[in-house]
Each structure stands twice: as structure tokens, then as C-alpha cells.
Symmetry: C2
């Protein structure tokens, strides 16, 4: 790029801006999105939390249900607790399935968490609902996929719903508006023996 003159740069950018403006002018619709974050990489839950943060900043009302995390002290819990009018935060998990070692209990927990998600989605005062790690309980077949898809299909038109977790079902991906796969390129806990750290993993 160094050999381009300032005039050439300005002309090229002007052209780029015009193209960008044309594209943006064609994007006029607003709609509540069904968003899926999946894949083996990190960032599925954190990107969803970042969306919750932005929504709070715009004064919106958000419901967050965590299917795996329970009573532990997370950073998200501490911050969301400062915005009680904007976030209803429900960490409803019992930990991982290998912690409980009890399938009936896991199914009951998944059901209770799902009923919360369902209630929030049905209530049009919520602008955004995050079902964190829902894909995990679907993978274990702790909830009927058809029932979940039916609720998502019937969500209010303006509500954003975010579903996270690895192994998102194909039918959910088909239904979603925005799907991102987080791909693991490098992870320090494996390669360097680094443990879960505050501010990063929780």
C-alpha cells in the first residue's frame, strides 16, 4: 500500500464508502434474531454476555438462564446484580453431568431452566433472552428437541434469543438467523497447564 498516493487512497476509499453505503441502504429491516454460538472454541458464552452487556447499555430488558452454571460466584453475576431492572439472571445448573452423577436430577434441572426460558420468551417485555449452554442439555437429550424448536419458532418477532453451547443441533442451526462457530486455534489450559481464571473463564 505504501506506493499509493494520498489522492489514490482517498479515491479508493471514496469508492469503498459508496459501495458500503449502498449495501447499508439495502439493510433496513429490524427483527428479533435467533442467534446460535456453537463450536469447540472459547467465546460462545462470553460473546453472548457481551450482547447482554450491550443490550443493558441501551436500556433493554434481558433474561439470562444458565443451564450448567449454578451457585458459583461469577463475574457476570456480580455485574448483572447491579442492573436489577434490566437483567433477570438465573444460574440454574447443578454443574456438569459428571458432578451430579444423577440423570434424573440433571433432567429435572434442565426442565426447570427451560421453563424459565420459555416464560421469558413468551413475555414480550423481554427484549433479549439468553439460554446459556442449552445445546449441552439438548445433546444429552435431557429436553425434547421438538419442544424447544417449537417455542423458538413461536417467539415474539422483536425478541432476540441467544442459544449457546457446543454441538448445536442441525435443526436449530437451520432455524437460526445468525450462527457463529467458535473454532479453537490454541488453548493454554491444555498446552501450558493453565487453570480456569477469574475474568476469563468465569
Amino acid at each position: 500500500m505504501a506506493e499509493r498516493t494520498e489522492e489514490q487512497h482517498a479515491a479508493k476509499m471514496k469508492k469503498k464508502q459508496a459501495a458500503h453505503d449502498r449495501i447499508m441502504a439495502a439493510r433496513t429491516a429490524e427483527k428479533g434474531l435467533l442467534i446460535v454460538h456453537t463450536g469447540k472454541g472459547k467465546g460462545k458464552t462470553t460473546a453472548a454476555l457481551g450482547m447482554v452487556l450491550r443490550a443493558i447499555g441501551h436500556g433493554k430488558k434481558v433474561g439470562v438462564v444458565q443451564f450448567v452454571k449454578g451457585a458459583m460466584d461469577t463475574g457476570e453475576k456480580a455485574v448483572f446484580g447491579r442492573f436489577p431492572e434490566h437483567v433477570e439472571f438465573r444460574p440454574m445448573g447443578d454443574g456438569f453431568t459428571w458432578d451430579t452423577q444423577n440423570r434424573a436430577q440433571d433432567i429435572a434441572s434442565a426442565r426447570a431452566a427451560w421453563e424459565e426460558v420459555r416464560r421469558m420468551i413468551a413475555d414480550p417485555t423481554y427484549d433479549m433472552v439468553l439460554a446459556d449452554e442449552l445445546n449441552i442439555v439438548l445433546r444429552y437429550e435431557y429436553l425434547p428437541l421438538d419442544e424447544v424448536l417449537e417455542v423458538l419458532r413461536a417467539k415474539p418477532a422483536d425478541t432476540h434469543v441467544i442459544v449457546t453451547g457446543r454441538n448445536a443441533p442441525a435443526a436449530l442451526i437451520d432455524m437460526a438467523d445468525l450462527v457463529t462457530e467458535m473454532t479453537l486455534v490454541k488453548h493454554p489450559s491444555r498446552e501450558q497447564g493453565i487453570k480456569a481464571q477469574a475474568g476469563i473463564e468465569f
Copy 2:
């Protein structure tokens, strides 16, 4: 899974827990990570914002420098403004390079933003520093890559540094501890003409 008895399930999960505990026991180190979020998908900045949110929740001090976003009213700005003792937030961009149409100005903006990042990284009172969209200005060669890598290599051992933006340089990926590529599976703005929406894109 339905045909497995409860006892078999419990036994399998017990085994899984033991394996998990062994792995976790080997992960004892804590260290400030160099984290990179790249790729064409969404979630690079939002996942970084989610980490900032978690760090704030743990009472840590975070510096955030945005290389592209400027004065616009973003959700992150509104929330971070509520935590002045924990987040120093500096949206220092002029917009995209096709908005300014002036390379000298873009280079000056990139330099000013980078000096802020550099100052924050050098100051050990910051637990986390986010250089949002730094990869973009590196791609345009608005900052010398060698200089950036040198500063990152010399960061305090406990400080987490997060760099976002598509097209992360290979040398940065080599140096990083944790690298995630956000892969676009489906995007509504292209396919459905949906515009950027509050709470999602800003």
C-alpha cells in the same frame, strides 16, 4: 442413551468425573494471557467485552481501547461508564478508513490509540487490556507490526491482553496463548437485509 440404567449412568459419570478431576489437577498455573479473537464471524469484540464484564465483576481493573469505534453511543460505553473505578474506556477510532478517506489521519488515530494501549500494558495496575480491532490497523499497516509484538512480548506476566479483529497476523497468533477463530455460518444482514441493531452490533 435411553437404554442405559441409572446405575450405569452414575458409574459412567463417576469415571468421567475422575478423568476430569485428574486433568484439572494438572492445571495449576495462573498467568496473564495474550488472547486473540479473529476470523470473519461475529463475536470477536462481543466475546472480548464479555471477558471485560467478567473481570469487572471480580473487581479487576481493565483498560479498553477501541481502534475503530469513536464517539458513537454504544451499549458497552453506557455500561462501562457505570464502573469508572474499574474500566478505563477509550473509543479512539474515527470510523472506518472509507469514512475518513485520509490515510495520514487514519495513521495518526491508530498511533494515538496504540500509545494508550502501550501505556495501559506498561502499568501493572491494569489486570486486563483490550485492544479492540487492533488487527485491522495492523492489516492496513498503520502501525509497525514489530513494535506491537515487542510491547506484547514484554507485557507484565499477570496482565491479560486481548486483541481482536479479522486477519490477525500469523506472528501474533504464534505468540498468543489463547486464539479463537470466529467462523461465520449464517449472517442475517446479508441474507435478510437486517441492519445493525442495538444490543447486537453496538
